[in-house]
Structure formats: C-alpha cells, structure tokens
C-alpha cells in the first residue's frame, strides 16, 4: 500500500490550508486516488498558526490523523518549530526560504524555495506563495500528478485568478528542477 502523509503549515493568511485542500482534491478528483484533509488554526483569522494534514493513498484510508508526516511543507519559522520534530526519520522538508531562518540539522532532505519573493517579485502577487510551494511539492514528491494539480488549482481559486496561480505553481515546480 502506497500512502503519503503530509503536513502543510504556515501562519493564518498564507493559504496553507487551501494548498492542502487543492492537493487532496487533485488526488481524489483527477488522479483517482484516496485522500483525507484535516486542519487546525488559531482563533485569530490572520497571523495565528494554520496547518493542514493531508493523506494521499492508493487505497481507502483507515486512520485519518497524521502523526508523523513523510513531508512537511513549512511556510513560516513557526511551522518548523511546531511540526519539525514530528517529521518521520528520512522525511522531506520543503520550506519557504524567505520565511524560515533556522532548520534543525536532523532533517536531511531539505528543499528551500524562495516562494514569497518569487510570488512578490515575479508575479506581484505575494498571496500566490502557497501555489509556488505546491509546485515545488509536486515536483519533489510526485505524490499527485502535475496535470491533476493544475486542474484542481484552476477549479479552486477565484474566477479570473486561475492564470496567475498556475504561473506561481509552475514557477515553484521549475524552481526545484533548477536546484
């Protein structure tokens, strides 16, 4: 049974949870896989912590809670402080290098993507940093196909914003390739 457990975390307003919803939706709707997505956030809608847990599997998922993820996507230093230690041994960390200063030495497989500056400087849309991270995640893990994610993004984002979000996703995807 192939199953991947993921945590995507950031601070409120960065769109971490939306990224998790899109990931799960892509798996279920376009890749014919099984997925669960859960989330937690602080009471303040902006600036508090936000995290989503996604499980993607080839078979129906029994236990839907992520305890030790295979992949941690960290959009803020707070995310690493909170969830870094839970990463499975040999797990993958993908972090936004603009937002993260310190990464524990124990995490060997690290991918640093300047998602916020890419979104701000190349797209003039800092809110699309989550899509940059999703692009990087797609390329690194291949947990969901690129086409499935592209379709899921186009469906999930507000009308008229499809193109810029897909561009952000592709920039993230290419960024990893060029590492």
């Amino acid at each position: 049974m192939s199953q991947t457990d993921l945590t995507i975390a950031g601070v409120g307003g960065q769109g971490s949870i939306l990224a998790g919803v899109i990931l799960g939706s892509a798996a279920v709707t376009y890749d014919d896989k099984y997925a669960t997505q859960t989330q937690a956030y602080s009471s303040e809608l902006r600036g508090g912590f936000a995290a989503t847990w996604v499980i993607i599997s080839d078979e129906p998922i029994e236990f839907p809670r992520v305890t030790h993820p295979d992949v941690l996507v960290a959009q803020a230093q707070d995310s690493i402080n909170r969830f870094g230690e839970m990463l499975k041994p040999g797990g993958i960390l993908i972090c936004d290098s603009d937002m993260v200063q310190e990464v524990p030495q124990t995490i060997e497989r690290q991918f640093r993507v300047a998602a916020t500056s890419i979104a701000r400087n190349r797209l003039q849309a800092p809110v699309t940093a989550n899509m940059v991270m999703l692009g990087a995640l797609c390329n690194v893990t291949q947990v969901v196909s690129r086409t499935a994610l592209e379709k899921a993004i186009a469906k999930a984002v507000p009308k008229g914003k499809e193109q810029i979000n897909l561009e952000a996703f592709n920039l993230g995807f290419e960024q990893v390739k060029n590492m």
Binding site: E62, F63, R65, T67
Partner: protein, 385 residues
C-alpha cells in the same frame, strides 16, 4: 454557486459538514433552522444557501431552543425538517427534544460533537453527547442515533436519518463530530434515482379526532399533518391515541409513556445497523463513529503479527444494539471498548457483554485526539500478556 439540483451527482472532495448538507437535501429536507456554533456552522451556512435554491427554507434563529421548536413546528406543517448544532446547543434543546419524542414528530437533529464539558474546545471533536442525546430530556423515552465515521457516511447516514424519521415518526440524531465534520474526503453522490427516499404516512380526514388514531401506535400512526383540514390535536402532555390530553387515567399515562418506546423497540431490527468483523477473533474492538477507523487500522496491525483481533462497529448507537453486542461477546474472550470520551457507552456495553467475556475500556491517548492505531495495538498486547 447557483444549483437547483437536489442531488449533486459525482465524486467530490469536501468536508463532512458539506456532505451532511447535501445528504439532507438529497433526502428531501425542505426546512432547516439553526444557530451558529462551531464545529457545526458549515452545515447551517450551506443549508442557508442551498435550501432556497431547491424551494426550501432556512431560518437562523435567536437561539437553539427556537431552532428545534421551529423545526418541530415545520415538521407538523408537513416539511421534512432538521436542525444542526453541537453539544451546547443540544443541552439547550433537550426539553423540546422531549416534545418531539412525545408528539411523535419526524425530525433530524445533526450533532457535530465537540470537546466539552461546557464551552470546552469548540473546534476539537469529541464523542461527548452520546449519552445526553439518549437520556438528556426528562422522563423515559427511546431515541434513534446514527454514528458516521466519514464524510461519505455523513451523506449516507443523513439520508438514512431522514428515512427513519419519516418511517417511524421520531426525532433521529446524526452523531457526527468536529473531526469528520471538518475533514475532507471523497464523497460519492449517486444518481437521484439510486437514492431511496421514505415519506411519512399521513392521516385521513375524519368527523372528529376521536374517530382516528393519530398517536401511540407501535406500528406508527399516520401523522395528522397540519393544514389539511384534519383538525389535529397535538400536545406533549399526557395524551391518548387521539392526541387528547388526559392527566387522570393511569392506563392512559402508561400507554403515553411506553408506546413511543415500544414503537422503536419493536422495529429495532430494521433500525439497528452494526458492522461485525469478528470471525475467529479472540479480542473484539468495539467502537462507533470516527474511532472506528482507528480500530480497523489497529486490527490490521495486530493481524499482521498473527493476533486474532476483530472489530464491532455500531452504526446505530441508539436504540442500543444489545443483541448484536451479546452475540459478539459470546464469540470472543475479550471486548475492548474504544470511545473518544471517558467511556459513555462502556457501561451499557459491559452490561450486555460481561456475562460472556472480559470487557475493558480504552480512551484515546490524549482526549479529543482519536486513538492512534499503534496506541491501541500496544494496549492489545498488554491485554494478551
């Protein structure tokens, strides 16, 4: 988004609360009332949007008391009615849940349970209301309560809740929790004609209510729905078969109290659903709701190591599946009851099973976090040792 369809056929990746709403609408719900409360609000929010699109009505009430009362009123007006809330709202509704029971009103009450007691932790799921929905209103009564374990079952069992409510003229609870209410997973909605929908029987006109049996039939009296010239007399005070109040005849009091209980007990085989996977098992993990998923994962882990572990899942927790529990108890050496609370159903299960096997309880490693399968597995190993 505008959509006049009652049944949104297809595969969706949405929250349990979304699935519950769509299940209600697919079942023919045309009236809902509610008051905002975490973690149930998404159901009411979506009902407010969807119901008017399919010709129904959503009312945001001034409190949960008004929500259940107006839902009961709408049911008597002929609507398929529901309300949705969480533990604190159920606490407020209790007196009028008793009214719904006593007047034999078809009604669905969705409880997206949360961490209590009191205001507790709104966003964290807990099976905190299992006993209060069955025993929280005063007096003796019987209730139907269904326990989904996934967003898909929040769709399927919401439909079943409406069908049972209509068939038996009773309030039916859907006992979801904040975890699956807020969890997204695949939800497969079939074609409309693949969904079985039940409608209540309606009384025929008569010269007087004295010429008609409107209440207290163990095989379900046709309902004298309002607005059809049936001149129904409806009271939750002690009443006879015609609905007429009677506070002086002990025989009427007896029938008034026990017939609605007997109505559910008589049809318990049709109502109760369990999933037993206990063939050759030495230990049965007994669960309901979200924790059932942990139990299956733990049983799989244990079987990999050659341990004979089975599972018994209660899809219906009320009426209590006494017979089904006894049957499994007589097959196994041990029953381990897993609940995401401090053991609300455990005493009831123990009462049925303890004559035949050893029965013990295991709450989650951290209350509010559903059991980790590894945690259950290590406990099983201790149990065997």
């Amino acid at each position: 988004m505008q959509n006049n369809k009652r049944v949104l056929k297809g595969t969706h990746f949405e929250m349990g609360n979304w699935a519950c709403t769509e299940g209600a609408i697919a079942a023919g719900c045309n009236f809902a009332a509610g008051y905002p409360i975490t973690p149930a609000s998404e159901v009411a929010n979506r009902l407010a949007d969807r119901l008017p699109q399919v010709g129904g009505t959503f009312l945001q009430t001034e409190d949960e008391i008004s929500a259940i009362c107006s839902a009961i009123g709408a049911s008597w007006a002929g609507c398929k009615a529901m309300t949705v809330t969480s533990g604190p709202g159920i606490s407020l509704m209790q007196e009028n849940i008793g009214f719904g029971v006593s007047t034999e009103t078809p009604l669905v009450i969705v409880d997206v349970q949360r961490f209590g007691p009191s205001t507790g932790v709104p966003s964290v799921g807990l099976a905190g209301d299992i006993v209060q929905v069955a025993r929280g209103s005063h007096g003796d009564y019987q209730i139907i309560a269904l326990c989904p374990e996934s967003p898909q079952e929040m769709f399927d069992l919401t439909i079943r809740a409406f069908n049972l409510a209509e068939t038996y003229r009773v309030p039916v609870f859907l006992m979801a929790d904040g975890f699956i209410g807020h969890m997204r997973e695949q939800i497969v909605i079939p074609e409309a004609d693949q969904i079985e929908i039940k409608q209540r029987k309606i009384a025929e006109p008569a010269e007087s209510v004295l010429d008609r049996q409107d209440f207290l039939d163990v095989n379900v009296a046709p309902m004298p729905v309002f607005g059809r010239g049936l001149k129904a007399h409806v009271t939750s005070s002690c009443h006879d078969e015609h609905g007429m109040r009677n506070l002086s005849d002990p025989a009427v009091m007896h029938r008034y109290a026990i017939r609605p209980i007997e109505k559910i007990c008589t049809h318990r085989d049709d109502i109760i659903q369990v999933q037993a996977d206990c063939a050759d098992a030495q230990i049965a993990l007994v669960t309901y709701g979200t924790v059932s998923r942990s139990a299956r994962a733990a049983a799989r882990l244990a079987r990999k190591e050659g341990l004979k572990i089975g599972t018994l899942r209660l899809l219906t927790c009320w009426p209590f599946p006494d017979k089904e529990i006894r049957q499994v108890a007589e097959q196994v050496d041990d029953m381990l009851v897993l609940e995401n609370n401090m053991g609300q159903l455990y005493p009831y299960i123990k009462a049925e099973a303890a004559h035949a096997c050893h029965v013990s309880f295991l709450g989650p490693q951290t209350l509010g976090q559903i059991h980790d399968p590894e945690f259950i597995f290590s406990h099983i190993k201790e149990l065997i040792a």
